[in-house]
C-alpha cells in the first residue's frame, strides 16, 4: 500500500490495523521459532506446508546476524532477513514453494553460512503465481539483454576515447567524453554490483582519495582533458593540485589501457552465460539510478572538470526508464495500486525528460552544467524528487510485499 493511499484513507487504515493485529496473533501461533546465536542457527521445525512460512527470529547472540533461506544448491538465496540485532525478536515471512531448502544464519553478516540445516516444504505448488513467474522471467530476460547491449556499446566507444587521450589528441578525446560515458551511466548499478570494477572505472578523485585507492578511470582522464588552473578547487574544497599533476605520456597510456581493460572485464562479466539479475535488482537499479542523479549530478559534482553532468543525468534517467519498463507489467499485475503507481511513474518520467530537454539531448549534447542557475537546478531537482518518490515504491510493489 502506498503512502498516499494510506494518508488519504486514515479512517480505513485504522480498521486495517485492527485486522493486522489479528493476523499477527495467528502468525505467532504458527510461526517457527529460530534461535540465533553467534555460532548457531536453531530452527524449531524442519518442515512446513507451502505458502507463507513465518519464522519468529530471536537473536540471542552478541552481534548483528542474518537469517537466510537457501535453495537446494545451498548457494542461491531465496529469502533473507538482514540486520537482526542482538536481543531483537522479529517475524520474517517467506513465500515458499514445495521443495528442499536450507536455513542458515550469518554472524556479523559476513562469511560462510552458520548452522546450515535442511528445511522441507511440502504440499502443492501455488498456481496463482504462475502469471507472475512468467512476467518475472520476461523482466529478467529483457533487462539482461539491455545490460548486455549497453556493455557491448560501451566497449568500442571507450577504446576510441582512450586511444585519442593516450595519443594526446585532447580535442577529440574531449568531444568523445560525454557520449562515451552514456552506456555506462545507463547500467551503472549493474557495474556497481561488481565490487571493485566501478571504483576503478568511475571514481571521482575525492572518493578515491578518501578510500585510499589509486585514482583511475574516466574522471582521472577528465581532469587531464579539462586541466585545472592555479587556484581551482576540487569538489571537496581542496586545492585541485593537491596530490595531483598532469599525467605524463606514459601515465596517459597506462590510464587509457586500464580503462579499456576494466570495461572489457565488465563486458565479459555481463555477457557470461551464468550472469543474471534478480527482479528486485532491476527495480532497485531504477531507484539507484535516480539516487545517483539526486546525490551526484544535481550538485554538479560528478563531472567536476568537464561540466558534462547533464549527459550523465540523462543517461541515468534513461537507464532507470528501461529498468522500470522491464518490471512495469509485473507492477501493473498487482492490481489498481500497481497500475496507479506505474501511471504516476510514467508521468514523472515524461516531466523529467521534458525538463532535461530544455538543455539539450544525448544526440546533440547538453550545455555545460556550470551555465545553469540555482533556480534551473532547483527545477530539475524538483522533477527528480517527483519521480524518485513514487519510484521508491516500485520494488515493494513488484515483489508484492
Amino acid at each position: 500500500m502506498t503512502r498516499r493511499v494510506l494518508a488519504a484513507s486514515a479512517a480505513v487504515t485504522v480498521f486495517a490495523l485492527a485486522l493486522t493485529g489479528c493476523v499477527a496473533k495467528a502468525d505467532l501461533a504458527s510461526a517457527i521459532a529460530v534461535d540465533i546465536t553467534d555460532d548457531g542457527c536453531s530452527v524449531a521445525a524442519a518442515t512446513a506446508p507451502a505458502g507463507a512460512v513465518t519464522f519468529a527470529l530471536a537473536n540471542n547472540g552478541t552481534d548483528v546476524n542474518e537469517f537466510e533461506i537457501l535453495a537446494d544448491d545451498q548457494l542461491r538465496i531465496v529469502g533473507e532477513k538482514e540486520n537482526v540485532t542482538p536481543g531483537q525478536e522479529i517475524d520474517f515471512t517467506a513465500q515458499l514453494e514445495p521443495g528442499t531448502y536450507y536455513t542458515a544464519c550469518k554472524f556479523q553478516q559476513v562469511g560462510a553460512p552458520i548452522g546450515l540445516a535442511e528445511f522441507t516444504v511440502t504440499g502443492e505448488a501455488s498456481a496463482v503465481s504462475a502469471g507472475d513467474k512468467e512476467l518475472s522471467e520476461q523482466a529478467v530476460t529483457e533487462y539482461l539483454a539491455y545490460v548486455r547491449s549497453q556493455a557491448a556499446e560501451l566497449l568500442p566507444l571507450v577504446e576510441a576515447f582512450a586511444a585519442a587521450y593516450a595519443a594526446g589528441d585532447d580535442e577529440t578525446a574531449r568531444s568523445l567524453f560525454a557520449a562515451t560515458r552514456v552506456p555506462y551511466e545507463r547500467i551503472e548499478p549493474t557495474a556497481e554490483a561488481f565490487g571493485d570494477l566501478d571504483p576503478k572505472i568511475d571514481f571521482r578523485e575525492v572518493d578515491a582519495v578518501a578510500d585510499g585507492l589509486e585514482w583511475t578511470g574516466f574522471h582521472r582522464i577528465e581532469k587531464d582533458l579539462w586541466a585545472p588552473v592555479a587556484g581551482d578547487l576540487n569538489s571537496d574544497g581542496q586545492d585541485a593540485f593537491l596530490d595531483w599533476a598532469p599525467s605524463t605520456a606514459e601515465e596517459r597510456q597506462a590510464y587509457a589501457d586500464g580503462l579499456v581493460a576494466d570495461v572489457t572485464e565488465l563486458h565479459d562479466l555481463v555477457t557470461a552465460d551464468d550472469f543474471t539479475v534478480s527482479l528486485d535488482a532491476i527495480s532497485n537499479g531504477a531507484i539507484a539510478l535516480l539516487d545517483e542523479v539526486a546525490s551526484g549530478k544535481i550538485t554538479g559534482e560528478e563531472d567536476w572538470w568537464s561540466g558534462t553532468d547533464l549527459s550523465d543525468f540523462a543517461a541515468n534517467v534513461q537507464g532507470a526508464g528501461v529498468a522500470f519498463g522491464a518490471v512495469r507489467a509485473l507492477a501493473e499485475s498487482k492490481g489498481d495500486e500497481g497500475t496507479a503507481l506505474a501511471t504516476e511513474i510514467d508521468e514523472q518520467f515524461t516531466a523529467l525528460e521534458a525538463a532535461l530537454a530544455k538543455y539539450g539531448s544525448l544526440e546533440s549534447g547538453f550545455v555545460d552544467y556550470a551555465t545553469l542557475t540555482d533556480a534551473d537546478k532547483k527545477t530539475l531537482s524538483d522533477e527528480v524528487n517527483a519521480l524518485a518518490e513514487p519510484l521508491s515504491q516500485l520494488t515493494a510493489t513488484v515483489l508484492g510485499v
Binding site: R3, A7, L17, A24, G79, E89, A94, L387, G400
Partner: protein, 461 residues
C-alpha cells in the same frame, strides 16, 4: 534475493502510535483530554455546522488553550513534561496554531506549487496534507504503521524521527500566498483568481528592507509549532515529502524560542536583544479583541476566508554584535522599556500601560519620541493590534563571523493593513540601526477545518 519467492516481514514492534502510552486508548480516540469538536454530518455545510456549534466549538478552542496553560502554571510555569504532553485538536472553527498558547519551537515552511499542478492536483495535495496534519498533531505517525510497520522493500511512509515522542503541543497551520491565485505571469492555474482576497497583495516596500527573493514569498505555507523542535521538524519534513512533485520547498525557517505570549497564562519571553517581547500582544483570552483584530469576519470579503486570518512572516536579521556594544541606558531608551522588568519607562510594572505624555525632569517625554514601544503602540496606529507569534533564530553565522541571528516575525491580523500601518510607523524606530528585514511573505490563512473536510475547502466550493 530470488525473484520467485517474495518475502515479507513485519516487526513485532508495531509502529502504530508515536507515543507508546497512548496506544491503549485506541486510535479512534486521540490521546487528548481536550474537547473534540463534533464530526461533520453528511449534507451539513460547514457554515451550518458552526451555526449549530459556534459557541461550543469556540469554547473548545479556548478551553483547550486555557487548560494547557493551567497545566503549565500549576507546575511552576516551566515544567517541560506537562508542556510536552499537550495535545491540541486539529479540527475546529479556526485553525490551531494562532491563538494556541505559543509553543517554544517553530519550523515554518513556504512552498511553490509545481508548474504542472492543476486544480484537482492542488485539492488532492491539500486533502493529503490535512489528513497527515490531523494525525501528526495528535502525536501519531503520518500514516498508520508509517515508520517501521510497512514492507521491508519500500521506504517507510513516516520518516521516523518522532517515534516515541509525544504530540508536544504540535499545531500545523496552513496558508495561501498571492501566487496561488495568479502566478508571476498572471495565469489563473487553479480557477480561483476571482476568489483572491483583495487584501492579499504582496507587501509594499518598507524602510529597512533588504529582501532576498529566495527566502521571500511562496504559494503555500505551513507553520508547525511544538514544544519539541524534533516534532516540529518531523511535521514539515513529512509534509514536504508528501508534496514532492506537486509543491516544493521554497524556503523554511527554524525558530528555537518563542518571542511572544499568546495567552495570559504564559510568562513573557525575551528576544535576542535581551528584552521581553510581546508584553502587549493580543492574548487568546481577550476574545472580543481576537474577534475584532485577528479573525476575518463574516462581514469581510471574501466569504471563504471567514474565520481565517492574514499571516505576515518577516525574517528580521538582528545585528546583535553591534547591539551588544550599546549602553544599557540607550538600549532601554530605544525600546522604551526597562530591560529587567520590561516596564514602560513612564513607570510601573511590565503590564502597566505606557504613558507617552509623561515627562521627566528635563521636560522631555520619559518614553522617547522614537522608542519602539511608542511607534508600535495601538494608540500610534489607529488602534491597530496584531497577534504576534514570532521566534528567535540563529542560523549559524555569516561570512563576517557574525551570528546569523534575529527574529522570525510572524503576525496574524484581520487585515494586512494592520501590519502595514505599524511597520510604516516603525520607519523612524531607533532599533532599525540594528535590524535588517531579509525575508518577507504574506498568506491568507483559511478558517478551521471540520472533520471530513480539507483545509481551505470553501475556496474551492
Amino acid at each position: 534475493m530470488s525473484d520467485d519467492s517474495p518475502v515479507e516481514e513485519r516487526s513485532t514492534k508495531e509502529g502504530a502510535s508515536r507515543e507508546p502510552a497512548a496506544r491503549d486508548e485506541g486510535f479512534e480516540t486521540p490521546p487528548s483530554s481536550a474537547p473534540q469538536p463534533a464530526a461533520s454530518e453528511g449534507g451539513v455545510s460547514r457554515r451550518q455546522l458552526f451555526g449549530f456549534l459556534g459557541a461550543g466549538a469556540a469554547g473548545a478552542v479556548v478551553g483547550a488553550a486555557a487548560g494547557a496553560g493551567v497545566a503549565v502554571a500549576a507546575t511552576g510555569g516551566t515544567d517541560a513534561s506537562s508542556a510536552a504532553a499537550s495535545v491540541y485538536p486539529f479540527f475546529g472553527e479556526h485553525q490551531a496554531g494562532i491563538v494556541t498558547p505559543a509553543q517554544d519551537r517553530l519550523h515554518f515552511a513556504a512552498f511553490d506549487v509545481a508548474e504542472t499542478l492543476d486544480r484537482d492536483g492542488l485539492i488532492e495535495l491539500l486533502t493529503e496534507w490535512t489528513d497527515a496534519a490531523a494525525r501528526l498533531s495528535q502525536g501519531l505517525e503520518v500514516a498508520e504503521g508509517g515508520a517501521v510497520g510497512g514492507s521491508d522493500y519500500a521506504p517507510p511512509a513516516d520518516t521516523g524521527e518522532a517515534l516515541g515522542l509525544p504530540a508536544s503541543g504540535l499545531t500545523i497551520t496552513f496558508g495561501f500566498g498571492p501566487g496561488l491565485f495568479a502566478d508571476a505571469a498572471g495565469a489563473d492555474r487553479f480557477g480561483i483568481a476571482t476568489r483572491r482576497p483583495a487584501l492579499l497583495e504582496p507587501l509594499p516596500r518598507f524602510q529597512g528592507d533588504a529582501l532576498v527573493p529566495e527566502i521571500s514569498g511562496g504559494d503555500l505555507c505551513i507553520q508547525a509549532c511544538a514544544d519539541d523542535p524534533q516534532v516540529a521538524v518531523h511535521a514539515i519534513r513529512n509534509l514536504s515529502r508528501i508534496a514532492f512533485g506537486r509543491a516544493s520547498l521554497r524556503w523554511s525557517q527554524l525558530g528555537f524560542g518563542r518571542t511572544s505570549s499568546t495567552s495570559t497564562t504564559q510568562a513573557t519571553p525575551r528576544n535576542l536583544f535581551g528584552f521581553k517581547d510581546g508584553t502587549a500582544n493580543v492574548k487568546a483570552e481577550e476574545t472580543a479583541t481576537v474577534d475584532e483584530q485577528i479573525w476575518v469576519a463574516a462581514s469581510d470579503e471574501p466569504a471563504w476566508l471567514e474565520g481565517g486570518s492574514y499571516l505576515v512572516a518577516r525574517r528580521i536579521r538582528m545585528i546583535i554584535e553591534n547591539w551588544d556594544r550599546v549602553q544599557l541606558g540607550e538600549q532601554e531608551m530605544l525600546v522604551g522599556r526597562s530591560k529587567g522588568e520590561g516596564a514602560p519607562l513612564s513607570g510601573g510594572t511590565e503590564f502597566t500601560e505606557p504613558d507617552f505624555e509623561k515627562t521627566g525632569a528635563t521636560d522631555a517625554p520619559l518614553i522617547d519620541a522614537n522608542a519602539h514601544v511608542r511607534l508600535a503602540h495601538p494608540s500610534t496606529n489607529g488602534g491597530a493590534r496584531m497577534l504576534r507569534r514570532g521566534y528567535n533564530f540563529v542560523d549559524g553565522n555569516d561570512s563576517l563571523g557574525r551570528l546569523d541571528a534575529g527574529l522570525f516575525f510572524l503576525s496574524f491580523q484581520r487585515s494586512p493593513q494592520q501590519f502595514i500601518d505599524v511597520q510604516r510607523s516603525l520607519a523612524s524606530d531607533g532599533l532599525n540601526e540594528y535590524l535588517k528585514h531579509v525575508g518577507s511573505a504574506i498568506f491568507a490563512v483559511p478558517g478551521g477545518v471540520a472533520e471530513g473536510e480539507f483545509v481551505g475547502q470553501a475556496l474551492f466550493a
